[in-house]
Every structure is written in structure tokens, then in C-alpha cells.
């Protein structure tokens, strides 16, 4: 299963490292990353593959939310299907 992770918030050092470490620990593979910083606001979108993931989707979601709270960011994971359905015919 593929999913999109979005990270939105104030830019600080080590955001990508923190998210990537969290994913690597759970054997979640990153397929693509894109990021921008606009007026100090950090926005990152990440396409990931959960096929080999060692934990359930809900646990990944909880871990990312928690990491976001720690770093003052909003981090969420959503299955890719919702974006496919909305933006592709």
C-alpha cells in the first residue's frame, strides 16, 4: 500500500531526518520527496510504500502525529487513493 505523508509547519533543523528515521525504523520505504519553504513555513510531501512495514497503518499514523507534536509540526499520513480519486479521472 502506498501513502502520502505531509509535514506542514515552522521550518526547523532536522525535520526530514526525524521523519525519515521514524519511517526507516518501521521498514517504510520512501519513494519520492518534495519540499518547499515559503515565508519560513516548511511543507514537505512524501510518497511512501508500506508493503514491508513492520507495524499497522494506525500505529504509523500515531507515531507521526506524536513526532509532529514534539516538533511543533502537523504530520499526517493518508492513503494515496484519496488523492488519486480526487485529482485523476
Amino acid at each position: 500500500m502506498k501513502a502520502i505523508i505531509t509535514v506542514i509547519g515552522k521550518d526547523t533543523t532536522g525535520i526530514i531526518a526525524a521523519v525519515c528515521t521514524l519511517l526507516a525504523e518501521r521498514k517504510i520505504n520512501i519513494l519520492d520527496i518534495s519540499q518547499t519553504v515559503m515565508e519560513g513555513f516548511f511543507t514537505m510531501t512524501m510518497l511512501v510504500d508500506l508493503t514491508e512495514s513492520t507495524v499497522a497503518f494506525a500505529d504509523v499514523s500515531d507515531a507521526l502525529n506524536l513526532k509532529g507534536e514534539e516538533m511543533g509540526l502537523v504530520i499526517r499520513i493518508q492513503r494515496e487513493d484519496i488523492f488519486d480519486k480526487m485529482h485523476r479521472i
Binding site: 502520502i4 505531509t6 510531501t45 499514523s61 487513493d81 480519486k85 485529482h87
Partner: protein
């Protein structure tokens, strides 16, 4: 991979424009729960619902989490109880309503619809018992919703049922007077009801439906409003096109949720109802969409035309996004549940007569309207008859969900709380319709019902 713009636009819709799936409604047939004893029937109903719907709420929550899309309500609709209970020797069907309420609480759904009777042509013994049980059923339950079909394009208007429903609404208001007539907020009188409507209070599981199905109702007035802000001053062609594109996106999401829920519950997917359903929250209003088109206040001249465009564009945008569109599909205009409608009514811009005109061009009828507590049963019936006539002649669903606010006068506010919001008490015409209603009988079906 999707562009950041696409991803962020979806997230913005969810975070800032109230995009949500309004309801996943499981339709359950209760035809195999008949017996000659009301308590036995009630037990069978409780057992069937709590078995089939035991995972409904959990599955809804799982989908919500995985897709990051809020699913506001999980609900159940059942076969009209007027049919299911017809074989019972008792005449009071309240025990069945209590069983439905208990089942709803056990499985964790917030409303259960189907304490209903279909009497658009005539009333059976079971239908009459059901209708007479409505006031006590709604007064003794929290989550049960009731509806009665009194008219259809094929059958005409059953004026005996219309007269009866005026009295039933009054009685329901009296029995729930301590809760601002809350019982009436759960009671809908229909013309041309649909059998697969996932929205409350009018949902029931029609007899032509399968054993168990999943219907999904999508919403998103805030998303449409936001999209229209970007086409200020543009011609209506642009407005219609913008609404269509937005409705398409919203409906695709609803279709995805319907397919997922159906697969996980092992229950066939029925329909997706693409209705713009407002809530009392700011930024989730249908009235504000109409105002965005250029009206100073919803209810002023031009409102009917604006609503007609909106209703039509929502359908056109949504129809290609779902493999089975059904339910009511269009725009809802429940006064108490729409922050913009409430304000328009408080400013006297939106009146009962204007709302009646608006119901000619949208998917429902006079919805969540509070009228003075001393409004006569005959006047309520006459309001129902007018609304039914609009539905019957225009071959569309219309409905009346009206609350006589016991002890309250025009201008006072009735508070229902939660999704049901608050409503200013609106004036009704003071001239009598009593002799009109006392005639009874049936208003014949219109000429265009004879299509065969």
C-alpha cells in the same frame, strides 16, 4: 507522484473548508423480523441490527484514519416499520422504536431511520398504528427517526394522511415540549421519498432494496463556497462549471469511501448521495454559497435562481464521479442547520413562502423550520399539502420537517443543539385552511403520471 498543489488542496479542503463524508448509512431489511407479537418483533429487530451493524462504526473510524477524511456520522436505515409490524396484534408500536433506539446505542450510531409508513395512496392497519405511535415513539427515544410518505406523482396526495400528520406533528411537539419540540426534528413528511436516502431524518430502507447495503452521503458546502470565491464577477457559465468540478472531486471521495466500507463490511455498496448538507458551523453553509453568487442576503429576489443553478451543477458534477448516484442528491436547505439561513431568517430576508419557492428547485423541502407553538394542526397540514403538491407535480422529492415551538412566538429562538442547530420561529399565514383540510380524500395524480 501527485503535485504538492494537489495534495495541499485536498488537505486544505479537509482542514479549512469542512470537507467531509457526512454519513455512512447501513440499510438493513427487517422483513424477516415479522411476528404477531410486538415484543417478539422488537427482539428480532434488535438482534438483527446489532449483528449486521456491529462493525459499522469501527470500519468507519478505520477508513477515516487511513484516508484522513472525516466521516461525521455512521447511521442505520431500516425497512418501514409500518410494514414490518403490520402482523402484530398490538396497536402501539412504541416497543419497536425503543428496540431500534437500544440497537443504535449498542452499535454506536447516532441516528436510526425507518420508523416509517408509506401511505401515499392509502393506509393499511399497520400504517395507521405506526402513525399513531409516532408521538410516543419519538418522545421515548433519542436516536429514532420517523418519516411518512403522504404523496407521490403516481398516486396523488393522500389528504386523509396529510390531515392526520398535522395532528401527529402537534402531538409530537407537545410530548417533547420540554426539549423544544425535539421530536418533530426527527419526523419528516414526504412526497416521492427515495428508498436509498442515507441522510436523516428521512432515511429508510425501501422494500425493493437488498438485504443489507451501504449508502454514503457526501457533503461540502464550504468547499463549493471557497471555490466560488475565486470567480467573483464572472458569468454564470463559469460559476456552474466551477461548482461541477468541485462536486466531482467531493463525490469521488465519497465513492472511494463507499467502496472501502462495502468491501470491509462485506456488504454491497448501494449509492452515493451527492448532497450539499450544511451544518450550523461557520464555513459550512449553503446560504453563503447563494450569497457568494451575488445576493446580499439569502432569501432575497434571485435566491431561487441561484439555488436552481447550484442544485443542477452539483448533480452534473457528481454524476460521473460515482457508479451509482442516488438518494436525494442536490442541495439541502435546512434552516436551523445552516448558519447563513439562520441569519437570513433573523433578518426577515428568508420567509416561509420564499423557502417554499426554493423547494421547487432543490432536492428537499421545508426543512427544520420552527413555527409558533399555537399554529393549528390544519395549518400544518395545509403547509404539508402545498409542499406535497410541488413534489407531485414536479416529479421530485419534497418533504416537510416543521417544529411547532411550544410556548414560543415569532422571533424567538428554538435551540436544538449539535448538528440540528437553532431556529428562529417564523410566522405562518393567519388565515384558516381548516375547511380545505377537513375535506379528506385524495388529490388525483397529475396528467403526466400516466406515462404507460
Amino acid at each position: 507522484m501527485h503535485s504538492q498543489k494537489e495534495i495541499l488542496s485536498t488537505i486544505n479542503m479537509i482542514d479549512h473548508q469542512h470537507l467531509d463524508v457526512r454519513t455512512i448509512t447501513m440499510g438493513i431489511s427487517l422483513l424477516d423480523c415479522c411476528s404477531d407479537d410486538v415484543n417478539v418483533t422488537a427482539d428480532k429487530i434488535y438482534n438483527k441490527i446489532t449483528t449486521l451493524a456491529k462493525d459499522l462504526v469501527k470500519v468507519g473510524e478505520d477508513i477515516e484514519r487511513e484516508f484522513g477524511i472525516p466521516i461525521v456520522n455512521k447511521r442505520i436505515s431500516v425497512t418501514p416499520i409500518g410494514i414490518v409490524a403490520a402482523a402484530c396484534k398490538q396497536t402501539d408500536y412504541t416497543p419497536i422504536a425503543i428496540a431500534l433506539d437500544k440497537a443504535a446505542k449498542t452499535v454506536g450510531v447516532n441516528f436510526i431511520g425507518g420508523f416509517s409508513a408509506l401511505v401515499h395512496k392509502g393506509m393499511t392497519k399497520g400504517d395507521i398504528n405506526l402513525i399513531n405511535s409516532i408521538p410516543s415513539a419519538l418522545a421515548s427515544t433519542e436516536r429514532v427517526c420517523s418519516s411518512v410518505s403522504v404523496a407521490s406523482t403516481k398516486a396523488g396526495i393522500n389528504m386523509d394522511a396529510v390531515a392526520l400528520m398535522g395532528r401527529i406533528i402537534k402531538k409530537t411537539a407537545d410530548l417533547t415540549a420540554d426539549k423544544a419540540g425535539f421530536g418533530c426534528a426527527k419526523l419528516v413528511v414526504f412526497a416521492n421519498p427515495v428508498e436509498d436516502n442515507p441522510f436523516m431524518a428521512g432515511a429508510f430502507h425501501g422494500v425493493s432494496e437488498a438485504e443489507c447495503i451501504i449508502n454514503v452521503g457526501v457533503s461540502g458546502p464550504g468547499v463549493v463556497h471557497h471555490a466560488l470565491k475565486k470567480c467573483k464577477g464572472q458569468p454564470f457559465d463559469v460559476v456552474a462549471e466551477t461548482i461541477k468540478k468541485t462536486a466531482f472531486k467531493i463525490t469521488r471521495m465519497g465513492q472511494l469511501v463507499a467502496s472501502e466500507a462495502s468491501q470491509r463490511l462485506g456488504v454491497p455498496a448501494g449509492i452515493v448521495d451527492l448532497s450539499l448538507a450544511p451544518t450550523p458551523e461557520k464555513g459550512d453553509s449553503v446560504a453563503r454559497i447563494l450569497e457568494e453568487m451575488g445576493l446580499e442576503v439569502c432569501g432575497t429576489h434571485g435566491t431561487t435562481a441561484a439555488l436552481a443553478l447550484l442544485n443542477d451543477a452539483v448533480k452534473k458534477g457528481g454524476v460521473m464521479a460515482s457508479n451509482h448516484v442516488g438518494g436525494l442528491s442536490g442541495a439541502f436547505i435546512p434552516v436551523s442547520e445552516d448558519e447563513g439561513m439562520i441569519e437570513a431568517a433573523l433578518r426577515n430576508a428568508l420567509t416561509l413562502d420564499k423557502l417554499e419557492a426554493m423547494t421547487c428547485v432543490c432536492s428537499v423541502g421545508l426543512d427544520m423550520i420552527a413555527v409558533p407553538g399555537d399554529t393549528s394542526a390544519e395549518t400544518l397540514s395545509a403547509i404539508i399539502a402545498d409542499e406535497a403538491a410541488i413534489g407531485v407535480v414536479n416529479t421530485k422529492t419534497t418533504a416537510v420537517r416543521i417544529i411547532p415551538a411550544v410556548g414560543k412566538k415569532v422571533g424567538e429562538i428554538v435551540e436544538f443543539g449539535g448538528l440540528l442547530g437553532s431556529a428562529p420561529v417564523m410566522p405562518v399565514h393567519e388565515f384558516s385552511s381548516a375547511d380545505f383540510i377537513s375535506r379528506g380524500g385524495r388529490i388525483p395524480a397529475p396528467m403526466h403520471s400516466l406515462k404507460n
